[in-house]
Subunit: 413 residues, 2 copies
Amino acid sequence: MMKVSKVNGERLWGSLMDMAKVGATERGGNCRLALSREDLAGRELFMGWCREAGLSIAFDAIGNLFARREGQDNSLPPIVMGSHLDTQPKGGRFDGIYGVLSGLEVVRCLNEQGIEIRQPIEIAVWTNEEGARFTPAMFGSAVFTGILPLQTALDARDAQGISVAEALADIGHSGDLPLQRAFDSYFEAHIEQGPILEDNGLPVGVVTGGQAICWLDVQVGGVSAHAGTTPMPLRKDALFGVAEMASVLESIARDFAPKGLVTVGQLEIAKSSRNTIPGRINFTVDLRHHEDQQIAAMEQAVYERLQIVADKRGLSLAISRHWLSPATPFDADCVAAVRSAVQLLGYPHQDIVSGAGHDAIHLAGHCPTTMIFIPCVGGLSHNEAEDALPDDVRMGCDVLLNAVLQRAQHLSD
Amino acid sequence: MMKVSKVNGERLWGSLMDMAKVGATERGGNCRLALSREDLAGRELFMGWCREAGLSIAFDAIGNLFARREGQDNSLPPIVMGSHLDTQPKGGRFDGIYGVLSGLEVVRCLNEQGIEIRQPIEIAVWTNEEGARFTPAMFGSAVFTGILPLQTALDARDAQGISVAEALADIGHSGDLPLQRAFDSYFEAHIEQGPILEDNGLPVGVVTGGQAICWLDVQVGGVSAHAGTTPMPLRKDALFGVAEMASVLESIARDFAPKGLVTVGQLEIAKSSRNTIPGRINFTVDLRHHEDQQIAAMEQAVYERLQIVADKRGLSLAISRHWLSPATPFDADCVAAVRSAVQLLGYPHQDIVSGAGHDAIHLAGHCPTTMIFIPCVGGLSHNEAEDALPDDVRMGCDVLLNAVLQRAQHLSD
């Protein structure tokens, strides 16, 4: 049986709190928009810690930052840990940052415990994961993995008209590390950004993949008419039709419980007025499920069951698929390494599927990948009040350390 | 039994079509915004016809135009017919115009049939009934009846910043006829602006009053959260809550059928995003009923039954009353005069309550008032495609003529 290593939870917490001083907001959150002066300051703080830990720093052409610890055989591709340091405009102290600084804490432990590993170890800081300054989100990892063309990314502009190329030149973090270079594997520790682990009282989630997402656009047409002069039986009220459709959507979520999720996030009444019967309404549907086959069944149910409502009410209905992102199962060996680590440590845990997008979702198409979740208080993130408990922060990092050791072990066997 | 008089339907239709050339829009509608050059041109066409019919023209301080036929005893207050000549930006050829030109046709008939009446007869053209250029709607009649202070009205400005006072000076239609001067009675012929008469195949509606209107503002609070990471049972989704509330509102309309009307005309999700569970939603409720007691019961049902939905779902709920306009029963004698006229003529008809606002609703607080409705095609108004059938136009005006004769008869008995 393998020896269990433990991280220094206080040191990790201290680094998180030091990073949280960079771009601190009034209400205890952080604002480090991608490639801004604040993002640069956060990166420089991190780079200083990396140099103290003996790591070398390099960048690729989209500003992804890699801090490298050499291995016994540097011809091998690196085991990579990481996440991002940029935040939402009113973001929290843990989203992304936890994955980067956990990687640093792992390296610090390897160093002080004198653990040599065959492969190089790298900590990745992906550019503009949040998508708050430049769209889309998960920007740097998309370019690295070839999902987003480099030139398209460099030409993207923020709300002030500043391009990514200009912002990168401004902070000087563009480099020549090749895109799409080989990784042995990628491990990303992250707060859950949901309430499941907290609700179940568990400090660690073994993430088995990312769920499938299907976005639909729905347009419902009735007849706009005067609210005062049109008897109820003669109306074709789009709003009451959409209300019934929304209730049907909620019942579809029940039919696919507990893995199926349904959200109507946007709804707009065309030319709305207090005393006019709505004649046309557009709304969005966000469907999620762990399995591709099930999300297809959910989508089919939406088409069929909304049509029944429309037909019954004499409304027109047009549904179009806006986007479909298949389920992303994580690498079985990497997931096994995390599971083995958490069992070795004896920490309470559960399997969980990532509901949010992460750089790891892109990386999963590039190399063996997985994630480790810890709870966040109240399930809250993208919020200045985002919080995590020091014990959970420590235990999640213990899992990361031992999973990486499992992975290295596995390869050096 | 009283002699039946008939109007000249072709002449009335011809006048309507001539008026429709003023501010004609591409799709067969009219644009004569209140106090605009087009409105002035429409008024001048009408004034020319009035002068040919021997009428004198005068204005009050808010630009309401009165064309007067002297009576046998000019110390008596006038019997007034009328409506408005201004239109919506893409309005139709009948809304308002029909009431004014029917009044003119009545006078033309009295003249050519040599009918002398004790009271003076006036045709009123109320300023800015539509409220499309200056708010509120039913503007001129509100000032005339003392509901809207004159100075407030004169200071009102359109979207370009032009005040009513400036617009009035521009077209020169301000005069010194006293506001709130005595009327014997007020009769307004109008298209129904709803589908009831057409649906019942009837050419005339005997309008017994205006319905009560209650406007509510509803605010529903849940918890905004990530659409991908929040399990359905842990959500407090304001949108699904509002959907159930809307269905409850629709069922309240059924409980108060057929006189109760319920409309949700506006609905806004705060900070809406496709992949965010809605946390706060505001929506409006428009309740209508013929009877004050019943609209109070409807309002109470809204408070009680929406609260049940909110409690069940753990949502916050705040409902506030935005506006309450009591039912406006029309004058029994005037309604009787219309009913007597329509029976005398032998025209199919029904009693009906006005669903929309009209100048007559304001006038009802000032003098004995009623209205006569004719069908409009498809119930459509405030639309370039607004239409009415020549036979209905003629029959409605026959009713107006004979109702006015009944009223004069009644007083001269």
